[in-house]
Symmetry: D2
Subunit: 182 residues, 4 copies
């Protein structure tokens, strides 16, 4: 039961990352900090002769790491009522992996379980709902099980430590993950 | 009545761009092709001492162009049930402009009118609805009037020319824009 | 290709009904005016010993009529950002039909195609989107194909005749239906 | 700080009601069981000469009770991915109260705080999100503060007692309500 946390924040140690670390306290997991990777926007060559070209950035390394894990935690701040551009660029590149002959991307992903953690400052329990629906469509398309999400309310650094509801949910996840790794 | 079309496609002359060009046929407008600009993901320094640093990419030029127009058409393919990473990175950087003393970003934007054009292949008239709701939240936050959207169904190149409903809507917009520029 | 229009308005000849009639002009169809029927709220006996009891209202007659048709048009005003209570009571009763041994409700419904027509006064192209998503979940559950929807903007009587976009969509549907009944 | 719980279930002591009772344990509150009231669907006379007529059912008594309270808990099962028909008929009738000269319905409601509790069996943490968005639009329109919601997962009777997340949220609310009534 290998766990990876894909962190889409563009600020180190932000609220989303803190909440993710609480959910994963004492857990053996692989953090994937997208901010520290270079993942360029997709060049959409789906319909070009020759298809996609190899891209010399960190995407392939990241996706290889992702595929080695069973549980994926997508942790992104709510930026402008959606996932961060860092996270979105990463997901957009899946279109390339779907057409990559070297592995069966969709099939491999379909065996995974996903969780979403997101924190925002402007009524996220309402205004992040389209983001949750978007993740549902993404996971449905890939056949990934969507096992749960936490929406935290936070704006200034460490605000999340005051969101009792989100903290309680993170603790519940933590117990569950601890049991899975026993 | 100056019109700009902000194109977030990562494929030249894709369906979204075609539909946008139909809506703007005979209209004097400024195309802003994000794929041809370099806009790096935001480095979130909202809470850092000193705040945001200048970034040496094309964002400032793009936003200056945007601000010179009255009507903004956000044209993005539906990528993974959301706006493209190119478009998202651009919008994420608004957080920086909001804190830029040299101009009153929110106030200037609040005098503008926005339209959204988006095309997707997987039931976009349902699965792009979270994207429309996201744009609504974005425009609400900025005080921008959200005057309408077109969701086209298209996957392979030029598919959009078969979507009678989307074409009819684009023609209606075209008439309206022509009248405004008379 | 038999068509029924299930009208959930609580006002005779309202905007939703007018728009529906335009979409069905020259078409042979069965109007089902819920306002003229008595359909009481469901008494939820799913988990009661003995299950559901027969209810002496018009529901059974209505559902029998529905099942005789291939294409179902659900026409409801946007009331409080959702379908009307009349329409909702009707749909709620499906839970009873699902447990009715005399016919295979889900299987029969799964062979049908559904359309939604809805009109509202307060930004329905945004604020009726949750309603469209709800219908999608309903139709998905039943295996019904969701072939399209029109959202009209209208408040005072006959306002809908000024909504050029909705009228154009209704005309497109009309052509399609006329072709199907040829 | 007077609290009312408006229960829209069509089954006595269902999961939604149980969860509501847990949230209100030890609290002095008024339960309003819609199933025990007669509230007929609205007869939409907004545009009729003479306007609305008095209706001889329980609506007026219910709304009078509602208006005597400061905190309103809307408790409805997820029926067909929306609020129950019982709850919807009740809300639809607000259109009548808005036009009732005897009191200032919108103004009085705008001083209240609302909570939503809903339980469903089919992935409600995703598929009840359109319902939450609908409540948000309803409360926004009325100027009511939307202070929070709990979505429980439950199908068979008392299933809700196994939803640890929902129970934890109900306990958090309970503490908050107890503090308010001190």
């Amino acid at each position: 039961m290998k766990i990876a946390a894909i962190i889409g924040s563009s600020r180190a140690d932000g609220n989303t990352q803190q909440l993710t670390e609480l959910a994963l306290k004492g857990i053996d997991y692989t953090p994937i900090i997208l901010k520290e990777k270079q993942v360029v926007p997709i060049d959409d060559l789906r319909h070009a002769a020759g298809g996609f070209h190899p891209v010399s950035d960190d995407y392939e390394t990241v996706i290889d790491t992702v595929l080695e894990h069973d549980i994926l935690i997508f942790a992104t701040p709510v930026y402008w009522y959606g996932m961060s551009g860092l996270m979105k660029n990463f997901v957009d590149r899946w279109s390339q992996s779907l057409r990559d002959d070297r592995f069966e991307f969709k099939k491999e992903m379909s065996q995974k379980t996903a969780y979403v953690i997101t924190c925002g400052g402007d009524q996220p329990r309402i205004k992040a709902l389209p983001l949750i629906l978007q993740f549902q469509y993404i996971f449905d398309f890939m056949g990934v099980s969507f096992a749960g999400y936490i929406i935290g309310t936070a704006n200034a650094p460490s605000d999340i430590l005051k969101d009792e509801r989100a903290l309680a949910e993170a603790r519940q996840w933590n117990e569950k993950f601890l049991n899975k790794q026993k």
